[in-house]
């Protein structure tokens, strides 16, 4: 066997395909399945809640600009994962506050991405 063929075989072994974790497959599938309705409803509900606090008045505007169901779903997905990873104990109210904070954080990041792409 020539050296280069042998090297290509090694390369094939070194770069073997990687199976995704099972929970990733489930998560993406669920998100995609729920994408349109879920994202729009929840984003709207977060916007209304946040308007009660003047400190948040600028943020819903950012969420609206981001728009689009995939953008909203991405916000949801990341925020939920972040909350899960953090795994902090607390009251339901604290959890809601944290989730809201995560959503706004992600919304701002997405908005920045969008604006950068448009520039």
């Amino acid at each position: 066997m020539s050296e280069s063929v042998e090297f290509e075989l090694l390369l094939r072994r070194a770069l073997a395909p990687i199976d995704p974790p099972a929970d990733l497959a489930d998560r993406v599938e669920t998100t995609l399945a729920n994408l349109a309705g879920l994202a729009a409803d929840e984003l709207e509900s977060w916007e209304l809640r946040s308007m009660r606090d003047p400190r948040n008045w600028v943020r819903p505007a950012a969420a609206v600009v981001v728009g689009g169901t995939a953008g909203a779903a991405l916000v949801l997905l990341r925020a939920r994962r972040r909350s899960r990873r953090r795994g902090r104990a607390g009251s339901a109210w604290d959890a809601a506050e944290r989730a809201l904070h995560d959503v706004f954080g992600e919304t701002r990041r997405l908005l920045d991405d969008e604006l950068r792409l448009r520039r």
């Binding site: 090297f7 290509e8 390369l11 070194a14 990733l24 993406v28 991405l74």
Partner: protein
């Protein structure tokens, strides 16, 4: 005057997207993993790739004119990975999670030596210029042919063939030099 084609039923599109997703989840994940070097970021990149793909699926289908959509998916992952490095000012981690190469039990010295060689290859891949590394990942991890790689990278078939050849030769040299150094 040209009129745009009629919109297709959403349920039909969703079903086709779901099929695309199931067929290529492993490809996108493998590509992401070899680009970023760890499972955590590879998961994020994979998720974002499919969400982006979902947004633009109908147009991609229309423009692909029946050609496979894998190169388009990988191109999305490629662009997202580029943003990932630009945003966070970081490069791929040189030490890919050891799980890939080192997961098999090592009973004999020969197996251990073989594993060292694979490890050197993995490390060498990260010393390659971006386009060469990409081309090798697409070829060897995903089994893409020249034409698919050309579409994913936005190059001609001829330029892709040359790119792959040079990438393999350069990597071979890097690995040889590492071997000699140890």
């Amino acid at each position: 005057m040209t009129s745009s084609p009629p919109a297709r039923p959403k349920a039909e599109l969703d079903q086709e997207f779901s099929q695309l997703y199931r067929s290529h989840l492993r490809d996108v994940y493998s590509y992401s993993y070899y680009r970023v070097g760890n499972h955590h970021d590879a998961e994020d990149l994979t998720e974002q790739t499919f969400l982006q793909a979902y947004r633009h699926f109908e147009r991609a289908q229309r423009e692909s004119e029946g050609r496979p959509l894998r190169p388009w998916l990988i191109r999305i992952a490629h662009n997202l990975a580029a943003n990932y490095y630009r945003d966070r000012s970081r490069r791929p981690q040189t030490a890919i999670d050891d799980a890939t190469v080192l997961s098999a039990p090592h009973d004999t010295e020969a197996v251990v030596e073989g594993r060292d060689e694979l490890q050197r290859i993995i490390e060498g891949i990260h010393d390659l210029p971006d386009d060469r590394r990409e081309a090798l990942i697409m070829r060897f991890a995903l089994g893409m042919d020249n034409r698919e790689i050309a579409r994913a990278l936005g190059r001609s078939d001829g330029a892709t063939k040359v790119l792959l050849h040079r990438a393999t030769r350069q990597l071979e040299q890097i690995v040889r030099e590492r071997e000699e150094a140890t």
